[in-house]
Assembly symmetry: C2
Homo-oligomer: 384 residues x 2
């Protein structure tokens, strides 16, 4: 039987495991499967496990569980380590590697494929898309994003409504979302705004620089008019003339975070208002109560589709979701070369989504879920 290794790489999502289950359910009967522990690390350290009935059933139980049940994580994947990874696969006679991941993972698959070729080892590589912040190229969107967007939209709707009631105690809330270079999640947070009076009143994106002065003017005017301001900011936003704010560096990877705190302190010190800042945190990528049913379905389907590519012997491809021209929401799953995906780099918000939010929210509607409730708009403007 064909031997296939499957792994998960990068930050988890709420539907990461659904893709794994989709893949494994399609392949289990026809192949000998190996799970890779902790993504690249398991490949390099030969930490794999042959899937038996018990492990198979255990994985299947994770279809609705967030995280990455095989272990994922971040691990510096140097060319030397890639060569070791290929050698480890060779030792076990595994000729197929399927990884679920984002930009970095597709680039990694491409390079592993090249290294295997240079080692004269036949290695089929297939990628399954996964993202939280929708910065993966070569696909209309990737599983994980819509659930995170749903969480952001619901949270900000609720937090803004809470602030409305607290205007005599605090006036400004600043909420920081994920999004290093792409503001998809931050922009999605405005999806449930029922009227111009409702929060979020301002959204700041990595794609658009704004000066400190402009930000402060925005907040001051909004508080003057409504008695409050709810602000959403991507972790990757920076003020004009400034760099992004970082929390630290782990494994040579900048961990962003802190722009909301910087903005909150500015509001407090320059405008004399009471501001609260919070990070939307790990919940945005893992909250099960906010999962989009469509997102979970698509996550499962891209996993199944990858199994088809494996059986058909296609290599160097990622499953891509493409909307069709049909009326309503219709999509097909097609293969995209991982090389093309890797070369395209991070996918930023298109200009017309930034300029025309209605257009963006129409695009978002079918994937974020249909049972999204807008609240009654504020009845009147009542300053505290």
């Amino acid at each position: 039987m064909r031997k296939i290794a499957v792994g998960q790489a990068g930050g988890p999502t709420a539907v990461f495991n659904a893709s794994l289950v989709g893949l494994m359910e399609s392949l289990y009967e026809d192949a000998t499967l190996f799970t890779v522990t902790n993504g690249y690390q398991g490949l390099v350290q030969d930490d794999m496990e042959q899937v038996d009935g018990a492990l198979y059933e255990w994985v299947r139980r994770h279809r609705r569980v967030p995280g990455a049940c095989l272990g994922s994580g971040r691990y510096p994947f140097t060319p030397e380590r890639m060569a070791r990874a290929v050698a480890n696969l060779q030792k076990r006679d595994i000729h197929t590697l399927v990884l679920i991941g984002g930009n970095g993972t597709m680039a990694g698959l491409q390079r592993m494929s090249e290294i295997a070729r240079s080692m004269n080892y036949e290695l089929q590589v297939v990628g399954i898309p996964k993202t939280v912040d929708n910065d993966l190229a070569g696909t209309d969107h990737a599983p994980g994003f819509a659930s995170a967007a749903r969480y952001a939209a619901m949270s900000v709707r609720d937090i803004a409504k809470d602030l409305e009631a607290m205007r005599n105690f605090e006036q400004v809330r600043i909420i920081e979302t994920m999004g290093r270079n792409a503001g998809w999640l931050a922009l999605a947070s405005g999806y449930l705004k029922a009227s111009e009076l409702d929060g979020p009143h301002f959204i700041y994106l990595p794609e658009v620089k704004v000066s400190r002065e402009q930000f402060l003017t925005n907040v001051r005017d909004c508080v003057r008019e409504l008695g409050m301001a709810t602000v959403v900011v991507s972790e990757g936003f920076a003020f004009s003339g400034s760099n992004v704010v970082m929390r630290g560096v782990v494994h040579n990877r900048a961990v962003l975070g802190g722009i909301a705190a910087e903005m909150g302190r500015l509001v407090r010190d320059e405008l004399g208002l009471i501001a609260r800042w919070e990070n939307m945190g790990m919940n945005q990528r893992s909250c099960c109560a906010a999962v989009s049913a469509q997102d979970r379905l698509e996550a499962y389907e891209v996993g199944k589709k990858a199994a088809e590519y494996v059986r058909d012997g296609r290599s160097g491809v990622m499953v891509s979701i493409q909307r069709t021209e049909a009326i309503g929401y219709n999509y097909e799953l097609i293969d995209k070369p991982v090389e093309e995906v890797a070369q395209a780099g991070e996918r930023l918000l298109p200009h017309d989504f930034i300029e025309n939010r209605t257009k963006f929210y129409s695009w978002l509607e079918p994937i974020i879920g249909e049972d999204m409730v807008k609240y009654p708009p504020m009845r009147r403007v009542k300053q505290a």
Copy 2:
């Protein structure tokens, strides 16, 4: 027709408005209602509005909306201001005041009642219980808590599962919940733990002091064994020999916050581990996706019950939820003197709930909701 003023006071919850709707639906036909804007502040500044059909329908639309649709907030309620509030009610010939709130609100109602008596003004006062952190005395629990507990339990379950997948990148997560003096919410966060291996691995409560050394030993040993540690801490927890950590003081009220950051820095500096800390934030009191259906029902019911007290002319009482001795979850709504509630002060976790979590979680089960899923336990211990 009898004139009745209704208001909301203190921090909002996800079911605050359900109580308001329960009350108003019961009273609208028989009385002239006035809404009080922004809690005490509206009483003192005579910011009230007579309820007409449009306002009534607008309020009714908030049955499932978090926050406080009348405006709530915090406002220093001095004896002088209380006297002004009574005078304002007198001016409008309003002889009944119903407030939805927590400890402070029940004490405020009691004092307003005394001041009205000293002014020879007949004022009926009725309290409807509301809380996020369950520190309200005189009731088995109060609406708002179970939904917040549900949010805490689901979030921590999900965030811990996410950390499991990221052990080669970060090892420790510290999540800060609300709870100034009472650890109900923090303790509830462990409700969905499926096995000893799952997070949260440690919960720190305001009721129990722990030394820095003990905390660090706990985390170090857990990371050694499992490769990770998920820690939950109440904002009101303090290390032995230390005071609580504050973010600042607003209107003479200490705004707690920051203990998770202090703990995270300790872990980083003393143990050399990668730690992430987050505040569970405003979502724990406002997240609609995590509302407990039972909590929302009870919130509505205590509002209805208060209307009954109003009609029966009972004054100086709060609606209290009391479990009965019957098998299963049964409760009755009885009246408790607001004086007694106010004098009892903040309700801390009982000793036997702290010592015996199974007992606490059995108590919690019927109110947190029945569709709470535990995830499959970790299959094996695999260090990154």
